[in-house]
Amino acid sequence: MISNMGFLAFLRRDLRLINRRRGEVASPLIFFLMAATFVPLGITPDAELLKNIAPGIIWVMALLATLLSADSLFASDYHDGSLEQMLISPQLLVMPVLGKVTAHWLTTGLPLTLVSPLLGLLLSLPTAGYLPMMAGLAVGTGCLSLLAALGAALTVSLQKGSLLLTLIVMPLYMPIIIFGSATAQYSIEGLAWSGPLAILGAMLAVAIALCPLAIVSVLRLTTIN
């Protein structure tokens, strides 16, 4: 059996920990749904207009919801010292970090993806857009989680870290939102939506390869000092 080098162990650990604070996990989801109500209230309930901006709105909300929950990735481990213990242990940390981020995605990105058809309904998303929207969100929120983890690692030791985290990570999110929204848009306009989705997939592949390495070196830097 090929060793997963701690990936599963930390995935299970984090899922178990998150399970103990289920209420916390629900809040990004509730934010996601409530914000969808704000849009027609604030802009227009006109279905014709809404359906043009629906994919973009859903993506922006998904982005904000991910950023909301990003803080909790390393915060509790940092405060009770278990992060430091992880870092001074002799094992390679790339896979454990990936396990933690996957747990985060399973509890933020994936629920967002599954709930997005409901938002599509509220925002008059055309029928052609539902499946591409979900596909794009499933892949894109993976990227969002990885980049959010990088931001969380940089700001874990700071007092008011969450706002700084948002500032750092937002510019890096721009390409993801461009291609994510385009996936749904392309399908609505009748074009092949596999193109933008493939680019999202490529971004996810690069992120999976590079982010954990960066996250580990940043954690070593900000935690053990």
């Binding site: 700071l158 700084l164 750092i168 390409p175 461009i178």
Partner: protein, 256 residues
């Protein structure tokens, strides 16, 4: 043949940097003033106006150099951070720290001149053109590095964290630029890209070259001045800085 690395390590000495720049910085400053003044006068008064845009086209002599330097400055900042991370050179970190606000102001300048250019040309101050949007994201990247630099108590952690963030941003810049380019063609098929004018008439291109050179020299002067102040501040306990301060205060007292 042995390659002697002494020159490289000597370059990392703040004192060497301070003392050698003291010698030639005034000359570089004079060159900057010369280039900027002549380029500006040439561009504003002597270059022909554009057939379509008229005289507002002259803002190109400010906007394009500022944009070049804004982008080049980010790469310089990231490179300085990388050198600091790899060779643990204090001076390199100081350069990175000083390049951040300088680059951010230049990015703002590029955006401002672009907006002022846009009003008479396209009718509004802000257009979501590919270049402008990319420049705005660059500004946000700069602000992130700046914010991170000042967030930590420990200078060592602040330097390394900012360096890592700058490098992450560098990897992302081509992706961001290409994405925004693609996004823009998706939404607005036919536009004039007003920062790209490769087929410019030489009469218009030459003053632009002078201004670009002038801006590069200005950037070097401004950066070196900031780094010198940073060196004085960080090395204040050393004897050579103390000696310098004594000289400076004696000169002031003598002048009185």
């Amino acid at each position: 043949m042995n390659w002697n690395w002494n020159w490289f390590y000597r370059m990392g000495s703040p004192r060497w940097f301070y003392e050698s720049t003291s010698r030639w910085l005034p000359w570089l400053g004079a060159l900057t003033v010369l280039l900027l003044a002549s380029g500006l006068v040439w561009g504003l008064a002597f270059a022909p106006q554009d057939a379509k845009q008229g005289n507002s086209f002259r803002i190109i002599y400010l906007h394009v150099p500022a944009s070049f330097l804004a982008l080049a400055g980010y790469f310089l900042m990231a490179a300085a951070g990388a050198i600091g991370l790899i060779w643990k050179m204090k001076l390199s970190y100081m350069v990175m720290k000083c390049a951040a606000p300088l680059g951010a102001v230049l990015t703002f300048l590029a955006l401002f001149t672009g907006a002022v250019w846009g009003k008479p040309t396209w009718g509004s101050y802000w257009v979501w053109d590919a270049r402008v949007t990319s420049m705005l994201i660059l500004l946000f990247l700069y602000m992130g590095v700046l914010a991170l630099q000042y967030a930590f108590d420990s200078k060592d952690v602040a330097n390394k964290a900012s360096a890592i963030l700058a490098l992450v941003g560098t990897v992302n810049i081509p992706i961001i630029y290409k994405s925004v380019d693609w996004w823009f063609t998706l939404h607005q098929p036919a536009t004039i890209s007003f920062t790209e004018a490769p087929s410019m008439h030489p009469d218009m291109f030459q003053p632009l070259l002078v201004m670009i050179l002038g801006f590069y020299c200005f950037y070097a002067v401004a950066l070196i001045l900031s780094v010198r102040v940073e060196i004085l501040s960080r090395e204040r306990k050393t004897s050579w800085v103390r000696g310098l301060v004594k000289q400076a205060t004696n000169k002031n007292l003598g002048a009185e």
